[in-house]
Subunit: 187 residues, 2 copies
DNA sequence: CGACCATCTGTAACTAAGTTATGTCTATAA
DNA sequence: TTATAGACATAACTTAGTTACAGATGGTCG
């Protein structure tokens, strides 16, 4: 039942957006009464947290293969692909799309784990150890990519949306180009 | 009365967050009945749109002086200062913090005007015309700065929050460093 | 000057959403 | 076999966005 509710919630989120993520919408789709959310998640807050955590699981599944192959550029492309494929989910995780929801300490740590994967990947890609600070370089990459994606998701990209692919590729390349200054080797 | 309501809404937003931005909270603080929001703004949606527009006005007031003096780095610092001073306001404008709110065409154009100011500033700072594409360079700067600020606002910055100043400065400098490749002169 | 109309404003009610109290049922353990 | 804990439904409560309706206000035209 817990699994059914979570899947129903994700379905509502994907099809109708964060505003439609109501207790009754979810339980109607799951085929149970509103109580289910309280017995299994302790309330709507707990369910949103489950969505948050699930998002980072799915996220990592998309990115870690590219981390392991050392292809940070492709990881950056996969980041955007995931966000565009799950826009409302992304906004719940990063955009405070559900009012009153603040991730718990545990949820924040789960998000930090995803970031740590990136830090490790950057460290692995560093050819001259000591020349760069992997956390700082990773954070710059993370922030840049997140900024591009976030603007695109909320419709604040350029008027000519057709150019977004090219802009993103340009921004990603630029954010990855640490080598000349700080020793990060591009694949 | 319209002014009073808008100021009350901004006050609620600033002090109690986007989740507390309810019709009754606002009208109570403004000292009128709930109807006021409907006569003056057509509903909560219209009021949020007014908040959105007001945000970009205030935003521009903080940034354009630095644009005019040609100091893009200082403009970037002012960007973050504004966001940190008005975190909930920023999230309403850029983070979909109010569910169901999507800026109207007019509001989106107002946001585009703010971006155009940046494009112009980048164009002004370009010493070798033709070497860079001001919209693309401006968008990269915008996206990067936005990414840093957004992560910080939702609490997804580094565990050591004390390092955020330094990280931001580093990211800003990096995003501004177009010169070697594309001819944008740093002040 | 007075009647009229548009606009503003408050009261109260309606619908929907998050939550909780209460009771039933089932399954497991003593 | 009985008792208890957990899952589940029903129904109600509180709060939020919205609207219907009525009174009040203020400017305009005959």
């Amino acid at each position: 039942m817990r699994r059914t509710l979570l899947e129903a919630a994700l379905s509502v989120l994907q099809h109708d957006g964060a505003a439609a993520l109501t207790v009754r919408n979810i339980t109607d789709r799951a085929g149970c009464s509103t109580t289910g959310i309280y017995t299994h998640f302790g309330g709507k807050h707990g369910l949103v947290e489950a969505i948050f955590l699930d998002g980072f699981e799915s996220f990592d599944e998309s990115l870690t293969p590219h981390y392991h192959s050392g292809d940070l550029a492709e990881a950056g492309r996969a980041y955007r692909r995931w966000a565009l494929a799950n826009p409302t989910h992304y906004l719940v995780m990063f955009g405070r799309a559900v009012p009153d929801f603040e991730p718990s300490e545990r949820a924040a740590q789960r998000a930090a784990v995803s970031f740590q994967f990136l830090v490790d990947a950057v460290a692995d890609a560093t050819t001259v150890p000591g020349d760069i600070d992997p956390p700082a370089a990773a954070y710059h990459l993370y922030a840049t990519v997140h900024g591009y994606v976030m603007l695109e998701l909320v419709g604040m990209g350029p008027a000519d949306t057709g150019s977004l692919d090219e802009l993103y590729e340009n921004g990603l390349t630029r954010a990855l180009r640490h080598r000349a200054e700080v020793g990060l080797e591009l694949p």
